[in-house]
């Protein structure tokens, strides 16, 4: 028997991403940046905060190649990297 205040009969409602879907990188144009990011993660026990420069570079690569809508990086949460 479930607990009194259980939300068990509520179904998880997926939400669409804010900026829609990434186009697929069919030609692997940003693969190098992805590899750099993944290597950084491996070297830093998968701590995202240590690899934000690499993730910023990956997204910049996508933006440069029409694989992502161009956006000022502050709007993607990278304002701390830009202030440096």
């Amino acid at each position: 028997m479930s607990t009194a205040m259980n939300f068990g009969n509520k179904v998880f409602k997926p939400r669409a991403p804010d900026k829609g879907a990434f186009p697929l990188d069919h030609f692997g144009e940003c693969k190098n940046f992805k590899d750099k990011y993944m290597n950084c993660l491996r070297e830093n026990s998968y701590e995202n905060s240590m690899c934000r420069e690499q993730s910023k570079q990956y997204l910049e690569c996508r933006m440069d190649r029409q694989l992502m809508t161009k956006e000022p990086l502050q709007k993607l949460g990278f304002k701390d990297l830009l202030d440096e």
Binding site: A4, M5, F7, K10, F12, K13, P14, R15, A16, P17, D18, K19, G20, A21, F22, L24, D25, H26, G28, C30, K31, K34, Y37, M38, L41, S45, Y46, E47, N48, S49, R52, S55, Y58, L59, M68, Q74, K75, L76, G77, F78, K79
Partner: protein, 203 residues
């Protein structure tokens, strides 16, 4: 033998009896009412919380929020990744990292990889799930690869990124105080041409 019944007090006693009955009826009614209220409290509370939660969930999706939020550095959350493929879809689909450690308010990148090992192009479409359920409202995807058809050519392999953040308000929710792992699961289905997964509010 003198009757113990006194005509003057008899009517008074009758009055008392009537009053007692009325009072008892009121008490019984109040008792039933309270029992009813305690049953009603559960759905009423749920309705109230839905209204409140609905408000919080909608508030989380702003570019301004992403721009102005600051990471809650002293809170670290482990995000783990699952990948599933529906039986009819012959893709190899897997996450490229088993986990990532993030703070609420910090945008993060994660990758999945998908390969079409067949000799025909295959179109897939994915949906996702977040566990625990209550943490799902704080999981915000800025951009990912879900809900739209993705076509893989024969023997093609692609990286599929998810760019997300956990809402910093997660740290202020007492229900989330003991949550330190959130699991993101993606499932790919085969899509027929032009198919869209039915989703509330997705245009």
């Amino acid at each position: 033998m003198k009757s113990h019944r006194n005509p003057h007090t008899e009517s008074q006693q009758e009055e008392w009896r009537k009053r007692n009955k009325t009072v008892l009826t009121y008490i019984a009614a109040a008792g039933v009412g309270m029992i009813g209220l305690s049953y009603a409290a559960v759905p009423l509370y749920r309705l109230y919380c839905q209204a409140r939660l609905g408000g919080t969930a909608v508030a989380g999706h702003d570019a301004e929020k992403v721009e102005s939020m600051t990471p809650v550095k002293d809170r670290i959350l482990k995000i783990t990744f699952n990948a599933d493929v529906h039986a009819g879809l012959q893709w190899n689909f897997r996450p490229q990292q088993s986990e990532v450690y993030v703070s609420p308010g910090e945008t993060a990148l994660a990758f999945y990889k998908a390969k079409n090992p067949t000799d025909k192009p295959v179109i897939g479409i994915s949906t996702y799930n977040v566990v625990p359920f209550e943490a799902g409202q704080y999981f915000n995807k800025i951009q990912c690869f879900c809900f739209e058809e993705q076509r893989l050519n024969p023997n093609e392999e692609v990286d599929m990124p998810v760019f997300f953040y956990i809402d910093p308000e997660f740290d202020e929710d007492p229900r989330m105080a003991r949550v330190d792992t959130i699991t993101l699961s993606y499932t790919f289905f085969e899509a027929k041409e032009g198919q869209k997964l039915p989703l509330p509010g997705y245009s």
